[in-house]
């Protein structure tokens, strides 16, 4: 099958993280990966994003073809409990990130120039932002969103090595959310 332009979106995923390394404000571009799949699901009732346009999935597939141990994804990880549980956890963390952004915007807390990996480990990231370039809340969202994107990609890479290349897709919060939307939208004809 001949390659299409969207078969190269794995390059975009890598560029995204490189851009965020040098200037954290590029993290906002990650919103594309949040809004486009939801748009496909809500307006089109499909998962075209997961199926063709997900750069992260493509990257995991490519790296996994070399690095994955190719073991079966554990049953618990494939269960609805885990998938929806992880979705709830992820959305809670996203909500918390929005709240932290609000606190900075309201002047209740000060901007910390760092990212947080796995929602636990603070990593200084000050070189990627010059204070005062934009409003503090815009910068805060950038650091928070980049943390979320990097953390989820790292989780994807870990399960890629341990199990199958695209094990992440099984419990990817966006994938879970869009499939649920599709099931609701198409419940009469599937």
């Amino acid at each position: 099958m001949s390659k299409k332009w969207y078969d190269y979106l794995w390059i975009w995923t890598m560029i995204y993280f490189v851009l965020g390394f040098f200037n954290i404000l590029f993290a906002w571009l990650g919103m594309i990966d949040f809004l486009v799949p939801l748009g496909f699901a809500i307006f089109g009732g499909n998962k075209y994003f997961c199926n063709s346009y997900c750069g992260r999935g493509q990257l995991l597939g490519k790296l996994g073809s070399k690095l994955s141990l190719n073991r079966a994804t554990p049953k618990w990880m494939r269960s609805k409990w885990f998938r929806y549980g992880f979705l709830c956890f992820f959305l809670s963390m996203f909500g918390n990130m929005i709240f932290q952004t609000y606190l900075v915007g309201a002047g209740a807390t000060t901007l910390q120039e760092g990212i947080k990996l796995f929602w636990t480990f603070n990593i200084p990231w000050g070189w990627a932002y010059s204070a005062g370039t934009v409003s503090d809340w815009i910068a805060k969202f950038s650091f928070g969103f980049y943390s979320l994107m990097l953390t989820s990609t790292l989780i994807g890479l870990i399960v890629m090595i341990l199990f199958k290349p695209r094990t992440w897709c099984v419990f990817c919060p966006m994938g879970c959310m869009t499939q649920t939307i599709c099931k609701i939208k198409n419940k009469d004809d599937t």
Binding site: M1, F40, A41, G45, N46, K47, Y48, C50, N51, S52, G57, G61, N70, A72, T73, K75, R78, R83, F163, K164, P165, R166, T167, W168, C169, V170, C172, G175, C176, T178, Q179, I181, C182, K183, K185, N186, D189, T190
Partner: protein, 63 residues
């Protein structure tokens, strides 16, 4: 003996589309973002989808 074909357990399929990409016969499609469906007429039972499916929802067996 009947030829072996791929079968999808649509209750656990996550509709990620990995199977559609690896199928050499383009015999699998994603139905409205909900689950994968195999066109038994074109499936040659090569097991590529079964091996690559991260959700473990594809099984190759006699129909």
């Amino acid at each position: 003996m009947a030829m072996k074909k791929s079968y999808v357990d649509k209750t656990i399929c996550v509709a990620c589309g990995v199977c559609t990409k690896v199928c050499p016969k383009q015999a699998i499609i994603i139905i409205k973002g909900c689950y994968a469906k195999v066109d038994a007429e074109h499936c040659v039972g090569c097991r590529k989808c079964e091996k690559n499916c991260p959700a473990g929802c594809i099984e190759v067996r006699e129909g």
